[in-house]
């Protein structure tokens, strides 16, 4: 039953609120419009980054304040505004609606819903441009953010409040790592924000489906600007996403934000800058393209306990061309972030997935956030793998090798195989400890080469089925005792004996698993 009185009352309330609004405003007239850029004469009181309102209800952002005119970019209505149209200043910057109601939603960079669900009734909003937390407000990064990916959590650990760049060529699994990380935050009390900047709408739709099917949408918000959106919207998207993340961070919550990707963001900003006739610099990017990303990524932080202890962990993504990490945008973002995960197409094509280049990937602050047990057993892993790679390159030409070298090579290959992981198959910390312990023991010699990945997956299933208490015994926050290590190895050996003898069954099981996940 619709309550007519209530509707009437709310209309009266809204009408009275509307008429009370002030009607004295600064205005100007459009003297040029083209390529989404307008020049406005008048508007003498306007400030930098102020939101403008164009006759007809379109929004624009004032970016160039010149002697006789103001240069602004239109968010919409590029083909609707006319010469001579009135432009009003609003006295405020762009705001993003924030709140719990944004979770599970897909919105554009101005906070309008794109998912066809109900309208968003946010009671609060935050400016999209906001100063980063001050030095004294920051705490130490000391809590891990588990990605669920063995290669990353063991060797390139990410802490809450860290900024870790994911960099690599196209089609190397950059987005896959980010999506896997979001999926792994299920039940971890981490709010996730995925910002798509200039992505193909089809890829974004696929990501949304993945998140929905895996139950990750209820704790995720997607801020979307696709390749067909105007450059100003693509430019705004990461800042809008960050404003939303800040809302949760200042409430003391942990937030993970993915910027996919910042190279397209720089391109969108370059488009705007060139059209606004700002001087072009290296690769035609404007002079402030470094500041563009540094002010964004500085907003990711871990707050001190006095400030609530919340955090924003940022995973910016940058796409390189032909592996060139010395291009302008990659070097900029590498120098801003606290480390990078470098993905290589060569590794990807040879079947190493995730295609992490362990030698070039680093995490500058995550080490102190790593769980104690993981740190203990992964300490040697990086060194061992480096030794193996060096030897493998050196031995490429040699035919007859002594037994010791052959053993090192075979161990290295198996260790590399251990780090291979199927997409959407995330490991828990305890599972990682088991796999790392096994891969660094003598037991690894008994497992046939090329069967390592299958063995690992089988072993975890076997433990879950037959030795569930073993996983409970592992305490990730204290070091692994010798007796626990022996327990893990004895179970692993037990599984070798029952699986290696029954190879076809193992392969059948693997086939079943992969069809399950697809």
């Amino acid at each position: 039953m619709i309550d007519v009185n209530a509707i009437g009352k709310s209309i009266v309330k809204k009408v009275s609120a509307a008429s009370m609004a002030s009607d004295e405003r600064a205005c100007g007239r459009i003297i040029y419009s083209g390529d989404g850029i307008i020049r406005v004469s008048g508007l003498s009181g306007v400030k930098y980054n102020e939101l403008l309102e164009v006759q007809g209800g379109y929004k624009a952002l004032a970016l160039n304040l010149e002697q006789d005119s103001v240069g602004a970019v239109l968010f919409s209505g590029e083909d609707k505004v006319c010469y001579g149209d009135l432009v009003y200043s609003t006295g405020e910057t762009v705001h993003m609606p924030v709140g719990e109601c944004m979770l599970g939603r897909i919105v554009d960079p101005l906070g309008e819903p794109l998912d066809g669900l109900s309208e968003i009734r946010a009671t609060q909003s935050r400016p999209v441009e906001f100063p980063a937390p001050a030095i004294m407000d920051r705490g130490k990064v000391n809590e891990p953010l588990q990605t669920g990916i063995l290669a990353i959590d063991s060797m390139i650990p990410i802490g809450r409040g860290q900024r870790e760049l994911i960099i690599g060529d196209r089609q190397t699994g950059k987005t896959a790592i980010a999506v896997d990380t979001i999926l792994n935050q299920k039940g971890e009390d981490v709010i996730c924000i995925y910002v798509s900047i200039g992505q193909k709408a089809s890829s974004l739709a696929k990501i949304i489906t993945t998140l929905r099917n895996n139950g990750a949408l209820p704790y995720t918000c997607i801020v979307s600007s696709t390749a067909d959106d105007d450059a100003p919207l693509q430019y705004l998207a990461p800042y809008s996403g960050c404003a939303l993340a800040e809302y949760f961070m200042y409430q003391g919550k942990d937030v993970l934000i993915v910027y996919d990707d910042l190279s397209k963001h720089a391109v969108a900003y370059r488009t705007m800058s060139l059209l606004l006739k700002r001087p072009a610099g290296r690769e035609a990017y404007p002079g402030d393209v470094f500041y563009l990303h540094s002010r964004l990524l500085e907003r990711a932080a871990k707050l001190s306990e006095e400030k609530g202890g919340g955090s924003i962990t940022a995973l910016p993504i940058v796409e390189t061309l032909a592996g060139d990490i010395s291009a302008y945008i990659p070097t900029n973002v590498i120098s801003i972030t606290d480390g990078q995960i470098y993905l290589e197409s060569e590794l990807f094509n040879s079947g190493v997935r995730p295609a992490v280049n362990v030698g070039l990937s680093v995490s500058r602050v995550g080490g102190s956030a790593q769980r104690k047990a993981v740190r203990q057993i992964s300490g040697q892993l990086r060194v061992n793998l480096a030794q193996y790679r060096e030897l493998a390159i050196f031995m490429q030409f040699g035919s007859d090798l002594d037994a010791e070298t052959q053993k090192t090579l075979s161990r290295g290959a198996k260790m590399t195989d251990t780090l291979k992981q199927r997409q959407y198959l995330n490991y828990s910390v305890r599972e990682m400890i088991v796999l790392l312990t096994v891969s660094q023991s003598d037991l690894i010699d008994k497992i046939p080469e090329k069967k390592m990945t299958a063995y690992n997956e089988g072993l975890l299933d076997y433990i879950h089925a037959n030795h569930a208490s073993l996983l409970e015994k592992i305490d990730p926050d204290s070091s692994i005792s010798d007796s626990l290590r022996a327990d893990i190895l004895s179970v692993a050996e037990e599984y070798i004996n029952c699986s290696v003898g029954a190879q076809p069954a193992l392969e059948g099981e693997e086939g079943k698993n992969s069809s399950d996940t697809k």
Binding site: K14, V15, A18, S19, E24, R25, A26
Partner: protein, 75 residues
């Protein structure tokens, strides 16, 4: 201040004002540093008045009020 005095205000009305309204408008315009004003009749604003002084617009038209109400209800 002398340059301010040279600014001409532009006043838009829906219909021809009576002398009392004229006086009010002139007082309003003079208070904001304008020596003279040009008048324009535009029935498109339905009713009320719009005054442009330099960059500032004082919009008291019925049309813009109605638009505000429309967008207020739509939100």
């Amino acid at each position: 201040m002398s340059s301010q005095n040279k600014i001409t205000a532009k006043v838009i009305l829906a219909r021809k004002p009576d002398s009392e309204t004229m006086e009010k408008i002139e007082a309003f315009v003079r208070k904001r540093g304008c020596a003279n004003a040009v008048y324009e009749i535009d029935s498109g604003i339905i009713g009320g008045i719009i005054v442009y002084i330099g960059d500032i617009v004082y919009d008291g038209s019925v049309k813009s009020r109605l638009e505000k109400i429309r967008s207020g209800i739509a939100d």
